[in-house]
Amino acid sequence: MAEERQERMLALWAEGQNVQFANEEAERAYKERVIRLKDAIQLKKVPDRVPVCPVTGLFPAYYAGLTVRDAMYDYERAAAAWRKYVLDFQPDAYIGMFLAPPGRFFEILDYRLYKWPGRGTPPHTSYQCLESEYMKADEYDVLIQDPSDFWIRIYLPRIFGALKPWEKLAPFTEVLEIVMTCGSFIPFGFPEVQAAFKAVFEAGNEAVRWASIVRSVDQDLQGQGFPALFGGVTKAPFDIIGDTLRGTHGIMMDMYRRPEKLLKALDVLTPLAIRMGVSSARSAGHPLVFIPLHKGADGFLSDKQFRTFYWPSLKKVIMGLIEEGLVPFLFAEGGYNSRLEVISELPRGKTVWLFEHTDMARAKEVLGDVACLAGNVPITLLTLGTPQEIKDYCKHLINLVGKGGGFILSSGGVIDDINPENMRALIESAKEFGGY
């Protein structure tokens, strides 16, 4: 069943139904690239060559001579930068402009969770997360009982200064029938709550303005023969709590002090994480779901903690997406050497694992029959190395991991400001050394 669904979703993606192709050549190139990725993912056929899909973060902006601030505030210039990157370098799939999120939007809402250029970091530096306990240790029950209510009335007012008045809202589940209705709407009459909603409308307008430009870049690039690498996005439940609710420190202590609550909260968030991945991928008509992994890396958790707290809910998310015919694309930042055996219990040909510091030879050995592997040209090499050094690394990597298919050449980490010649070396390597 999952098999057929995946086949259908991949076929849908390859057809490019909603893509307006510039010409036949572009259409042929698009399909060729999707099929190349499909073959690498499914482990049924060896592709014509190793696909190459660098994990670009803000590289397109730097390459076009923009600061990160420019890219986050001037959407048109960012759009031009993304087009230029893809057309100049011709990767097999590109990562979209969504990685340059709209600065004005965050200003309107007074976003507290991140610093970004113009709000706490210099113009040329990427946005960065401000870890904190946005959810307190004693709030697990509130989250478990009603996650949406927790988000609306507790979490959002903390991460958006402009939404602080939402703390005064009543739970929507208290709207029942005639005499148990009106009272819940009283807070909407408060001036500060109304001001918060005005900010939301304004932010909504900004999001629409930005999204329409992002969409036009996507349509344009796909029309010229370049598929996007990701359709949807979601996160591992442990990271949802550990990254931006409790923070690293908070969640680590919760494993010792309130393990049952943490496990229950992970349970509650799991179907929501599946829903997020499914709905985002469906609306894009693209089966690949990006899942960045953070706190399950080597060194963060013991094997027992990983198997108890991290993996079960992540596995459910992965399986839930697979059930829907989607392809989870897991970006395992850091090292994943101690996790390979656990991962190997996943069904064959249904996931992509992009590794950073993981030993790729061992990954191929343990996971070669299970998943498509991707990675792992070190970001330090791409930043400080020479084109020749990069080609040497890629050639070796392709020989090591590319054997028999099931491999996508990529960077191990997110590429921001690197020498364009180094990007060229990475992409050319697949074409030079990756033929089967």
């Binding site: 990427s126 401000l130 202590m253 963060f300 958790l301 970001i379 400080l384």
Partner: protein, 223 residues
């Protein structure tokens, strides 16, 4: 190793706090109790460095220690300079300009302090000249720089250059950590690089010598 040190090493929070309260009732000096806990913390650091313990365990051990100090606070003869920075330091530690990552930095600092080093925590997003000033003010012989972004390589390089230029009379050894390797180390001109807190402590021990931590008021500065 006594039962308190052992409970600390095993990260048994409940037992640690029980033993601390018992020790207080028995009239044991609070400084002695702190010292026993610290012996346990050292074991935690060792277990981490050989891979038996993980980041989660380190974070938990530091948390238990904080709990102990909270219990002991009313009994201590002097106010603990916990939040305060040492006036004189062995190590100045901070995240470079433009970068606000602090988890690795904080963990390494707590490990270094457990080892008895006086560490000045400069914070995050620190410009090169501030590092120079801090090195001069504290007399530190080691500068530890943290960075987790590729765009921070330049800031590290600028910091190293400025420190070398401005502290010629006070030779400072520079260690970098985070998203680094041999290549980054060469590029920025640092003396050593580490990816893990435990390795960082080992290098500081090599550079500065072992610290003998005594259960005396003077030793508390290193907390």
């Amino acid at each position: 190793m006594g039962p308190l040190s052992l409970a600390m090493a095993e990260l048994d929070e409940k037992r640690v706090l029980e033993l601390v309260k018992m020790a207080l009732l028995e009239g044991k000096s609070p400084l002695e109790i702190v010292e026993e806990c610290r012996r346990g913390l050292k074991v935690v650091g060792e277990r981490y460095s050989w891979g038996e313990y993980f980041l989660s365990d380190l974070i938990m051990s530091a948390e238990i220690f904080q709990e102990v100090l909270r219990v002991l606070e009313p009994y201590l003869p002097i106010a603990l300079p916990l939040a305060e920075q040492p006036h004189k330091a062995d190590i100045v530690f901070g995240t470079v300009e433009g970068d606000i990552h602090d988890i690795g930095k904080n963990i390494t600092i707590s490990l270094l302090r457990c080892e008895g080093f006086r560490v000045y925590d400069a914070g995050v997003d620190i410009p090169p000249d501030v590092f120079v000033t801090l090195l001069k003010e504290t007399g530190a012989k080691v500068l530890a720089l943290s960075a987790l972004l590729t765009s921070s390589f330049e800031a590290m390089r600028r910091t190293v250059q400025l420190v070398r230029m401005m502290t010629a009379k006070q030779p400072v050894r520079i260690i970098i950590g985070g998203l680094v390797n041999e290549r980054v180390c060469r590029y920025v001109g640092a003396d050593a690089w580490v990816r893990e807190a435990g390795e960082g402590v080992a290098i500081c021990r090599r550079w500065l010598g072992m610290r003998v931590v005594k259960g005396q008021a003077g030793g508390l500065g290193a907390l």
